[in-house]
C-alpha cells in the first residue's frame, strides 16, 4: 500500500514520537513508583490525619479521568499562576496520577507480605535503609511485579492522551503525518503496532519477573 511507503518516508518523525512515548512512559513509571513508595507508608500509617489525606488523594486519582487531569494541569493551572510547558504538564499529570495507583499497588503487596522475615531482619541487626533495601523490598517487588507491569502498560497508553496538549509523542506523530499526507489508515495502524510492540516488551519483562518469583515460591 502506498500509504505505508509514505509512513516509511516519515519514519524519523514516527520514531521520534516513539522515543518520546518511551521516555514519557519510563520516566512516568519510575517517578510514580518512587513517589508511590513514599506514599504507601502514609496510607498504612496509624496516624489518622495523614492516612486520611493520602486515602482521599488515591480515591480522587482513581475516580478522575486522566485526560481531564492533563487538561487541568496544562490549561487550568496557569490561571492560578502554575504554568507548565507541555512536557512538564504531561509528566506532572502522568506522575501525579500514577503515583496514587502505585501506592495502592505497593500497599496491597505490602499487606500480603508475612511479617516474620522482616522481624528476623531486625533481630539480625538490620535497620533503616539496609533493612528496606535487602530484606523488605526484594520480596515486595517480586510479589508486585506483575501488577506494576500492568500499570506500566496503562502508563504507556495514558501517554497517548497527551497528544491533546501537543506533546510530540507517538500518537501525535501519527496524527501529524496523517493530517499532512492524508494517509490516516497507514499512519495510525503503524502507531497501533508500535504500541503493541511496546506492550509486548513490558509483558515479556513481567513474564521474566514472574518466573523469578515462582522459583522462590
Amino acid at each position: 500500500m502506498n500509504g505505508f511507503a509514505i509512513v516509511w518516508s516519515e519514519r524519523a518523525l514516527m520514531l521520534s514520537g516513539l522515543a518520546n512515548t518511551v521516555v514519557l512512559s519510563l520516566l512516568g513509571t519510575l517517578a510514580s513508583l518512587l513517589l508511590g513508595a513514599l506514599l504507601t507508608p502514609v496510607l498504612v500509617s496509624r496516624r489518622r490525619a495523614p492516612a486520611f489525606v493520602a486515602l482521599r488523594f488515591v480515591d480522587l486519582m482513581r475516580c478522575t479521568p486522566f485526560l481531564l487531569l492533563a487538561y487541568i494541569v496544562y490549561y487550568g493551572l496557569p490561571s492560578i499562576g502554575l504554568r507548565f510547558d507541555n512536557w512538564g504538564a504531561g509528566l506532572f499529570a502522568l506522575v501525579l496520577y500514577n503515583s496514587a495507583y502505585m501506592a495502592e499497588i505497593l500497599r496491597g503487596a505490602w499487606m500480603a507480605q508475612p511479617r516474620e522475615p522482616i522481624e528476623a531482619g531486625l533481630a539480625f541487626g538490620y535497620s533503616g535503609l539496609r533493612l528496606f533495601r535487602r530484606i523488605v523490598l526484594p520480596p515486595l517487588l517480586l510479589a508486585a511485579g506483575p501488577v506494576i507491569g500492568n500499570q506500566t502498560i496503562q502508563i504507556i497508553k495514558d501517554s497517548a492522551f497527551l497528544t491533546i496538549i501537543a506533546l510530540p509523542e507517538l500518537t501525535h506523530a501519527a496524527s501529524s503525518i496523517q493530517s499532512r499526507r492524508y494517509i490516516p489508515f497507514a499512519a495510525f495502524i503503524v502507531a497501533v503496532f508500535l504500541y503493541w510492540g511496546l506492550c509486548l516488551l513490558v509483558e515479556a519483562a513481567v513474564a521474566f519477573g514472574k518466573r523469578l518469583a515462582e522459583a522462590r515460591q
Binding site: 522475615p117 528476623a120 533481630a123 539480625f124 535497620s127 539496609r130 520480596p139 522462590r216 515460591q217
Partner: protein, 283 residues
C-alpha cells in the same frame, strides 16, 4: 566439627582451670522487666539470669508471657520498665537512660541469635545466601570467610545438599535447621529459640530437637521457649516456669518435673502428662 569451634563466644577450653573474671559474669541479666499491651500486663516484673553455656527452657501455658519475654531480650518488644543486660551491657537503653539509636541497638542484636517459630527465612534468597546474608552485610565480614563457615554450618545441621534451594522448596524441619544455621553464622553470645518446633509436623520435630540438643551439649548459651517437655527434661540445665506474666518456679529439670514445688506447676505438668507424650523426640 562442633559449634564450639565456630563460635568465639565459648572461651573456656579447660574446665579444670579457674574461670577468668569475665567468664563469671552472666551472659544475660534481666531485672524488673515489665511489659504491657494496653491495659493488659503481660510481664509483671521478671528477674532472670543466664550463665555462659547454660540452656534455659521457658515453660508455661499459653499467654504466660514466655514469647514476650524472649522478644524483650533483643528489644523486638520494647519493655515498659526494667533492664536487659547482655554480657554486662544494657540493651535498648544506653548508660544514662537514653534510648539507643538504631545503629547501636542493631549492633547489640548481632550478638544475639534468634530462631523463629515460623522460620522467618528470607524468601528471595537461597539457603546459602540466607546463612551468609547478615554476616556479610551487617557484620561486614569477608565474603569468602563467611561462605566457608556457612557451608560448614549447613553441613553441621545436615543440609549440605540444599545450598542453592529456595526456602519455599524445603520442609518445615529443613527450614528451621537453616534458621538455626543462619543464627549461628553470626557467632552470637546468646541464642534465643521462640517455640522452634511448634509450627512443625510431628515427624519433623525430632530433626530440629536433635540439632538443638547438640548445640546445648557443645556449650552454646540458649534460652528456649518450648512446649516439648521431654526436650526440657533431657537437655535443659534449668527450667523456668511462667504463668500470668510472672516466674512461678525455677529449678533443675529433675526437681521441676520430679517434684514441683508450686501448685500451678503441678497442675501444668498434670495437663501435659495426661495428654499424649510429646511428639517427635528422638534419642
Amino acid at each position: 566439627m562442633s559449634v564450639a569451634d565456630l563460635s568465639t563466644a565459648n572461651t573456656a577450653q579447660d574446665p579444670s582451670a579457674p574461670p577468668p573474671l569475665a567468664a563469671t559474669r552472666p551472659v544475660l541479666s534481666i531485672a524488673g522487666l515489665v511489659k504491657r499491651f494496653g491495659a493488659h500486663t503481660v510481664l509483671d516484673g521478671i528477674d532472670l539470669q543466664v550463665e555462659r553455656g547454660e540452656t534455659v527452657c521457658l515453660l508455661g501455658p499459653s499467654g504466660s508471657g514466655k514469647s514476650t519475654l524472649l522478644r524483650c531480650i533483643n528489644w523486638l518488644e520494647v519493655p515498659d520498665a526494667g533492664r536487659v543486660l547482655l554480657e554486662g551491657e544494657t540493651i535498648g537503653v544506653s548508660t544514662g537512660g537514653v534510648v539507643m539509636g538504631d545503629g547501636q541497638l542493631s549492633r547489640m542484636r548481632t550478638r544475639i541469635g534468634m530462631v523463629f517459630q515460623h522460620f522467618a527465612l528470607w524468601p528471595h534468597l537461597t539457603v546459602l545466601q540466607n546463612v551468609m546474608e547478615a554476616p556479610v552485610h551487617v557484620q561486614r565480614r569477608s565474603v569468602d570467610e563467611v561462605r566457608e563457615e556457612a557451608r560448614a554450618l549447613l553441613e553441621r545441621v545436615g543440609l549440605s545438599a540444599k545450598h542453592d534451594a529456595f526456602p519455599a522448596h524445603l520442609s518445615g524441619g529443613q527450614k528451621q535447621r537453616v534458621g538455626i544455621a543462619r543464627a549461628l553464622a553470626m557467632k552470637p553470645s546468646l541464642m534465643l529459640f521462640d517455640e522452634p518446633t511448634s509450627a512443625l509436623d510431628p515427624e519433623l520435630v525430632g530433626e530440629v530437637l536433635t540439632v538443638m540438643r547438640d548445640l546445648a551439649r557443645d556449650g552454646l548459651t540458649m534460652v528456649v521457649v518450648t512446649h516439648e517437655m521431654s526436650f526440657a527434661r533431657d537437655v535443659a540445665d534449668r527450667v523456668v516456669f511462667m504463668d500470668a506474666g510472672a516466674i512461678v518456679e525455677t529449678g533443675a529439670p529433675e526437681e521441676f518435673f520430679g517434684a514441683p514445688r508450686t501448685e500451678r506447676a503441678r497442675q501444668f505438668l498434670l495437663r501435659y502428662s495426661n495428654g499424649a507424650a510429646t511428639p517427635g523426640e528422638t534419642r
